[in-house]
């Protein structure tokens, strides 16, 4: 038993673990953003809104169709992915040839529309979503009480994060994808349907946001504002990690979660700005981000 600046080690371990849980949310969300930016060069401002849509789909499935958590875990990301496909096919596609700023503006507008629509329909206080029976209760770890559900969140997001990293960096499909971002014309010449691949990548990226939404539903209120609370931090994570770097997004997400957890112990008032302070420092020292490469 030791203590650091008057904070006992038990409390510290507990906070570190909680930081890791929040960090895994950041990682999962920033992963989707990094995939979309890395492959499509689109700054997807609608990511937070689609995360919220994922949570709402889970709630709607439970309330109106009686489909529980495990079903939603599969169906909601698919639904959000399909929404993403439609957005990409009908709107985003037209903007690839113009400045990035247009993609940013379009997706920002879409985010406002999604949020406004859900707010109009369901109000801001949010809807309750129960923790699935299988994951109720928790474990006493000695230094803290860990709800089973939070443990599951860490495991699930780490599996998805590293699975995605592996698929993009270590498989043939991933190699095609990366090649298509470097030189779409050449890859197309090899007989690979690049436009379809790009659509699917966007769909996959936002499906990750939808998945994060389902994971978040039992912890937070399912509310139209849940995305906008989180999206700014997630953007900071992607910027710090290096725009488009997949490993960067995962590692930075977890790292910033930990850092934020520590801030909540030592100086809680600053807990919502610490991420941005780090971002400013990183941008000053290494403008491409921790894992990014200069282009």
């Amino acid at each position: 038993m030791f203590s650091l600046l008057g904070v006992p080690s038990q409390v510290l371990f507990g906070q570190l673990l909680l930081g890791l849980i929040n960090g895994s949310f950041y990682a999962l969300l920033s992963l989707g953003l990094a995939v979309i930016f890395g492959m499509l060069n689109v700054v997807n401002m609608a990511h937070g809104a689609l995360y919220m849509v994922g949570a709402f789909v889970a709630w709607l499935l439970l309330t109106y169709a009686g489909v529980g958590y495990w079903g939603a875990l599969v169906l909601a990301p698919i639904a959000v992915g399909l929404v993403g496909l439609v957005l990409e096919r009908t709107m985003l596609r037209r903007l690839y040839k113009v400045d990035h700023l247009y993609g940013l503006l379009l997706t920002f507008g879409l985010a406002l529309i999604f949020e406004g629509a859900f707010r109009h329909q369901y109000g801001v206080s949010g809807q309750p979503y129960p923790i699935p029976d299988l994951l109720k209760g928790g474990q006493n770890l000695g230094f803290m009480f860990l709800p089973n559900y939070r443990g599951w969140v860490i495991v699930a997001s780490l599996v998805v994060c590293f699975g995605t990293w592996f698929a993009i960096e270590r498989t043939k499909l991933g190699a095609y994808l990366r090649a298509a971002t470097e030189n779409p014309t050449l890859v197309q010449a090899f007989g690979i349907n690049v436009p379809v691949m790009v659509s699917l990548t966007y769909g996959f990226g936002v499906a990750l946001a939808g998945l994060a939404g389902v994971l978040a539903a039992p912890i937070y209120q399912v509310s139209p504002l849940m995305g906008s609370n989180l999206i700014i931090i997630v953007f900071a994570v992607v910027v710090i990690g290096g725009m488009g770097s997949i490993m960067g997004a995962i590692v930075t997400g977890l790292g910033l979660g930990l850092l934020e957890g520590l801030t909540k112990v030592f100086y809680p008032e600053a807990s919502n700005i610490v991420v941005f302070v780090i971002m400013a420092i990183v941008l000053l020292i290494k403008p491409a981000g921790l894992f990014g490469r200069e282009r």
């Binding site: 707010r119 801001v124 206080s125 009480f145 209120q221 909540k264 008032e269």
Partner: protein, 402 residues
């Protein structure tokens, strides 16, 4: 010829008085601006519902008072004090607004109080809780209607300390309102022989409370007091259940909760919570009847803030009617003189510091088994009489009290 002259004179006199009657009401309309959060975390407890409540009060007067039409306008302050201040200034300077109503978020309300005090406009506060609004920052034109942090602290704090829960820890929203609520409750707890083990301040609009709750758990306190509101309280209560805080023997006290929060949490997560309320729709025939009308327009039962906006606007209009003018000094005097009597407040009265005294209620959230359906959420544990519910104006620090 003579009779014609007489008739003409009579007509002119009549016209003259007519003009004069209207001249008492500035620009011939009584304009009330409902300024609140319409899109953020307080939008469900105030928001459009408060505007509906204000319109319902105006409709009871046939949308006309002292011979002039009543106009209700609305704006969103987005929980930002600077936006609230610039909107209030715009309304008063160029919009011809006679009274500003609601303004939840104490930081925003303090800004508006400064402006309405300078510009001599009536300020009908239903949403904000900071006691400074009827204390050190009081105004001859400012009226704090529905609740305040002292009432919350006195009601809930006293009830829990009397149950033997003497050691407190606070989870506080880090702005004017949260700090004031923590301070008031601390005073109450200490005066009754309790202690405060510590406090943690979180930013407004936090989604993850687990870190703060864990610190609260580690403090070994009997009670964790949530000195926050709206979405913050909802998330904190929900996550406290997840971390098994109440099962481990600590009590959770929502120091400011609204029926909209209970509705959002669901009874499963909210059951057993005890807190102080200024209004419950299911109290008697009058409240049920008004709330039914409100629900038809808004789709929800009213919160105490929304019901309070109705009561405050109605009392304001009654005072304009009685004073036959919208002149702020005369109306403010009438508001203090007339008793407040409506479905929200029985035998209510406005004190010199602008605090409206009415009965408060200590409520406990029903279990899912006790509830008969949607919005059947509260058991009224105790009625707290007006004179003990609120702070004695003499101790409020308001310079208007002699």
């Amino acid at each position: 010829m003579r009779s014609l002259l007489l008739a003409g004179t009579a007509l002119l006199t009549l016209a003259g008085t007519a003009v004069q009657a209207n001249a008492q009401v500035s620009d011939n309309v009584v304009r009330i601006g409902v300024l609140n959060d319409r899109s953020g975390i307080y939008a469900d407890l105030a928001g459009e519902g408060s505007a509906i409540a204000a319109r319902m009060a105006a409709e009871e007067f046939g949308n006309k008072v002292a011979g002039a039409p009543i106009e209700i306008i609305v704006a969103d302050h987005q929980n930002k004090a600077d936006i609230a201040a610039s909107k209030a200034r715009e309304w008063v300077d160029t919009g011809g607004v006679d009274a500003i109503a609601d303004v939840p978020n104490s930081a925003a309300a303090l800004a508006v109080q400064g402006i309405t005090k300078d510009k001599k406009r009536i300020f009908l506060m239903s949403g904000p809780g900071a006691t400074a609004l009827s204390g050190a920052q009081c105004s001859p034109y400012g009226f704090q209607w529905t609740y305040d942090n002292y009432a919350m602290a006195a009601g809930t704090g006293r009830a829990l300390v009397e149950q033997g829960k003497k050691k407190w820890f606070f989870v506080t929203a880090d702005y004017a309102f949260g700090q004031s609520l923590e301070e008031e409750t601390t005073k109450m707890v200490k005066s009754l022989g309790g202690t405060v083990a510590g406090a943690v301040r979180h930013p407004l609009g936090t989604s993850d409370f687990s870190s703060f709750l864990l610190q609260a758990q580690g403090s070994g306190a009997d009670v964790i007091g949530l000195a926050n509101a709206g979405g913050d309280t909802v998330n904190a209560v929900k996550q406290a259940a997840e971390f098994g805080i109440t099962q481990a023997g600590q009590s959770l006290a929502g120091l400011l909760m609204f029926i909209s929060d209970v509705h959002a949490l669901g009874l499963q997560a909210a059951q057993g919570l005890m807190f102080t309320e200024g209004f419950y729709w299911d109290m008697d025939d009058q409240t049920r009847e008004w709330s039914k009308k409100f629900e038809e327009k808004s789709g929800r039962k009213p919160t105490m803030v929304q019901a309070g906006v109705y009561s405050a606007v109605k009392h304001y209009l009654k005072s304009v009617e009685a004073a036959k003018t919208d002149d702020s000094d005369k109306v403010a005097a009438k508001m203090r003189e007339l008793p407040v009597e409506d479905m929200f407040a029985r035998k209510g009265k406005v004190a010199a510091n602008g605090r409206m005294f009415h009965d408060m209620y200590l409520v406990q959230v029903k279990t899912p088994a006790e509830s008969k359906g949607a919005w059947d959420y509260y058991k009224i544990v105790k009625t707290i009489p007006a004179d003990t519910a609120f702070m004695d104006p003499k101790q409020s620090g308001c310079t208007l009290v002699k």
